[in-house]
């Protein structure tokens, strides 16, 4: 029941943390080929990117990033955060973003999952954050609102963010994966559901899509762990960003969905080796979660930019003194809003 979306309203943004994207692109080709791709190379990656022919794409490397935002600012796009540069320079309405170690998954019937189509369906059908529907997404084929669901809430709200999941290597933290080295996620849960208003969750950056026009500035690179590394186990940047996004969406009355589509995430990295680095992130969450649960934005914050600026302020006031990492994150959020206003909203076309 989604509106007909034109392919040219969509950008697919891929952060390249590894140089050889040949098999990645070839596996995704049938799904990606209709769309424009933005590939952003991790500025720390030294090797040349290898990308197969035949796709409609723009590649941004360190020199391009430097040119657009300046050499001092380009450091914020290091590692997994390079994808945010793609969000910044895109001019499309919808963005779909997957990590470069993820491949198309198969559903329970063995059919290849078109993750792009599912994300777009999620974003273009309403979300229902104010009351839980026990049959999950009421707008999907074969389902509906159940008895007892208030009629006034059945039109739903606009969905701003679609969070997908992962088969095989699930997005576990290093301690969990180290404890269960053989565990792989083989459970395909055939559902999409709206995350209720004021409920927070860890929003993983591995497989997401969003309405850039509505929520763009709220996906931001700001929290950087001291020991942040090149495996997801060694980062919290997306979790932090996701908390901000959810708080902003709740305040603005926008919806966030979770569930399908699944991607197949390849084995990569050594959880035990990452343990040392990620303890920092694990400890941080003890502060971060209660903090975001308590954030309340003012009535005057009516745009996404305003909301992000307010969150940044509260971060600075309440968390800044606890750890310099938070003070830096708050500043990064303020800088991001400025950057978004100057680069992200302008009508100039991105460099080649």
């Amino acid at each position: 029941m989604s509106l007909s979306i034109k392919d040219d309203e969509i950008d697919i943004v891929i952060g390249a943390l590894r140089p050889d994207l040949t098999s990645f692109m070839n596996e995704w080709r049938t799904i990606f080929s209709r769309f424009h791709l933005i590939i952003v190379k991790d500025p720390d990656l030294k090797e040349e990117l290898k990308i197969p022919e035949g796709l409609n794409l723009d590649v941004y490397k360190k020199p391009d990033i430097d040119r657009v935002v300046g050499t001092s600012t380009s450091t914020i796009f290091s590692g997994y955060s390079c994808r945010y540069f793609g969000y910044l320079v895109s001019r499309k309405k919808y963005i779909i973003s997957v990590d470069d170690d993820c491949y198309p998954a198969k559903d329970n019937k063995g059919i290849l999952v078109d993750a792009v189509a599912q994300h777009i369906t999620n974003l273009t059908t309403p979300a229902t954050p104010f009351f839980f529907n026990t049959l999950y997404d009421p707008f999907t084929e074969g389902a509906d609102f159940v008895r007892g669901y208030p009629f006034s809430l059945r039109s739903g709200v606009q969905c701003a963010l679609s969070c997908g999941l992962w088969l095989n290597l699930a997005d576990y933290d290093a301690p969990t994966q180290a404890l269960k080295p053989e565990e792989r996620n083989s459970r395909y849960v055939d559902a999409v559901l709206t995350v209720p208003a004021r409920t927070l969750m860890p929003i993983s950056g591995i497989n997401i899509a969003f309405n850039r026009e509505v929520i763009g500035p709220a996906l931001l690179p700001s929290l950087r762990l001291g020991g942040e590394g090149k495996f997801r186990w060694e980062t919290m940047e997306d979790i932090w960003s996701g908390m901000c996004v959810k708080v902003v969406c709740d305040h603005l009355g926008l919806g966030v969905k979770t569930g399908m589509p699944y991607v197949w995430r390849n084995d990569r990295g050594d959880a035990i080796a990452s343990l040392r680095k990620e303890w920092e992130g694990v400890k941080l969450m003890e502060e971060v979660v209660p903090f975001f649960q308590s954030v309340r934005l003012s009535r005057e914050a009516t745009t996404t930019e305003d909301c992000v600026a307010e969150v940044a302020n509260v971060v600075k006031e309440q968390l800044g003194s606890k750890d310099p990492m938070f003070a830096r994150a708050a500043k990064a959020m303020v800088d991001w809003v400025k950057l978004w206003k100057s680069v992200g909203s302008s009508t100039s076309s991105p460099g080649a």
């Binding site: 329970n108 009351f131 839980f132 529907n133 026990t134 049959l135 999950y136 074969g142 389902a143 509906d144 609102f145 159940v146 008895r147 007892g148 669901y149 208030p150 009629f151 006034s152 809430l153 969070c163 999941l165 699930a170 997005d171 576990y172 933290d173 969990t176 269960k180 565990e183 996620n185 083989s186 459970r187 395909y188 849960v189 055939d190 559902a191 995350v195 209720p196 208003a197 004021r198 409920t199 927070l200 969750m201 860890p202 929003i203 993983s204 997801r232 186990w233 919290m236 979790i239 996701g242 979770t258 694990v282 969450m285 003890e286 979660v289």
Partner: protein, 363 residues
């Protein structure tokens, strides 16, 4: 004695769980459930004409209550138990002496999972109730305590112990639990989607609780499971479980317990008449527009430390705030208080532990 081949881990709880079934017709459906239900004690609540004899299939251990029994046991307080509506089932919760309750409708049968295997719904409910809930932060891989799943990156370790689970809300394949308007618009829609997930409904979020396939920890939350005044002589029907669900969720949120939804599925075979349903639900459809904001804004004071105290407080607020919507809510608020009085009479504190009491009548 159960055949050793059919003993499953869940029969370990066979002395701690009662199955409550409201019925007005017959209990033929129990034949299909026999392999899963036979080890357990049943409480049958017979609605409608008490002179009709309800035949219970051979081999089940049960107690049966009809309207005469309800009147005899509760006296004047019997007014809080609905007549000619499956809401009467909550009488079964009140007279049970077990820790857990599973309630199921008599048109619900054993479903099959995608591999074709029969689903032991009771076993799944028990697993749900015996493992913690996680209402304070949503886990994107759903129930982290299930085999093959865990907490995702970013989930604080301090929240990974979870809280006790008070309610396990199961779902239905085939005839979905739609309201009358939806049934009228989509009479042929069948739920064929098996969603392989159990999840905790987050704190602060309300949901429509269906009583067709429901289990709960009676010792924890029993007094909140009052199914209201419905049916004969009442202006509304088909909102009994909804009412209990909203009260229960508010109280669980206040006392720090969890409510799970998702698996298990049962096979719901009978679609009730949508025109009859519409007449029953009609007022509810309007009233729920007031009821939802009411329940979303209920706050319980800190000194409401027991379920009964919480429930009485909600009853007072119902009277104060919903009495003006319709006089029905004044009567309902009174009935809620009567229910708690009756509950406490039948379940004096200290006697609610079930382990010492033998099972009911012999087979």
């Amino acid at each position: 004695m159960a055949d050793p081949a059919t003993i499953s881990p869940s029969t370990l709880l066979k002395d701690e769980l009662d199955i409550v079934i409201p019925t007005i017709r017959n209990l033929d459906f129990l034949e299909m459930w026999r392999p899963f239900f036979q080890p357990y004690h049943l409480i049958i609540v017979q609605d409608g004409d008490p002179s009709k004899a309800i035949k219970v299939p051979e081999g089940f251990d049960y107690e049966l209550y009809n309207r005469n029994d309800i009147n005899r046991i509760l006296g004047p307080k019997a007014s809080c138990i609905s007549f000619k509506d499956s809401a009467c089932r909550c009488f079964g919760y009140m007279v049970s002496k077990k820790k857990y309750i599973y309630t199921i409708d008599d048109d619900c049968f054993v479903a099959k999972d995608p591999s074709g295997k029969d689903i032991n719904a009771l076993e799944q409910h028990i697993k749900n109730l015996l493992s913690p809930s996680t209402p304070f932060f949503f886990n994107t891989l759903y129930d982290p305590y299930r085999a093959g799943a865990d907490f995702v990156r970013g989930y604080p370790f301090s929240l990974r112990e979870g809280v006790p689970t008070a309610v396990s809300h199961g779902l239905w394949l085939n005839i979905p639990d739609y309201d009358a308007p939806t049934q009228l618009v989509k009479p042929l829609e069948r739920n064929t989607r098996y969603v392989d997930a159990v999840m905790t409904i987050p704190k602060g979020t309300l949901f429509p609780m269906c009583g067709m396939n429901l289990a709960f920890d009676r010792e924890l939350i029993g007094p909140a499971m009052y199914f209201g005044l419905m049916g004969d002589g009442q202006p509304i029907g088909r909102y009994d479980d909804m009412w209990a669900g909203w009260c229960t969720k508010v109280i669980c949120d206040h006392l720090g317990w969890g409510v799970k939804t998702g698996l298990p599925y049962i096979w719901h075979s009978k679609a009730s008449n949508p025109f009859v349903n519409l007449r029953k639900e009609y007022k509810g459809i309007y009233w729920q527009e007031e009821l939802i904001p009411f329940f979303q804004s209920v706050t319980l004071p800190k000194d409401c430390t027991s379920v009964q105290k919480c429930y009485i407080e909600i009853a007072n607020q119902v009277k104060a705030k919903l009495g003006k919507v319709d006089d029905y809510f004044n009567k309902l608020a009174d009935a809620m208080v009567t229910w708690i009085e009756a509950w406490d009479e039948l379940n004096p504190s200290g006697a609610s532990k079930s382990s010492d009491l033998p099972n009911g009548p012999s087979k």
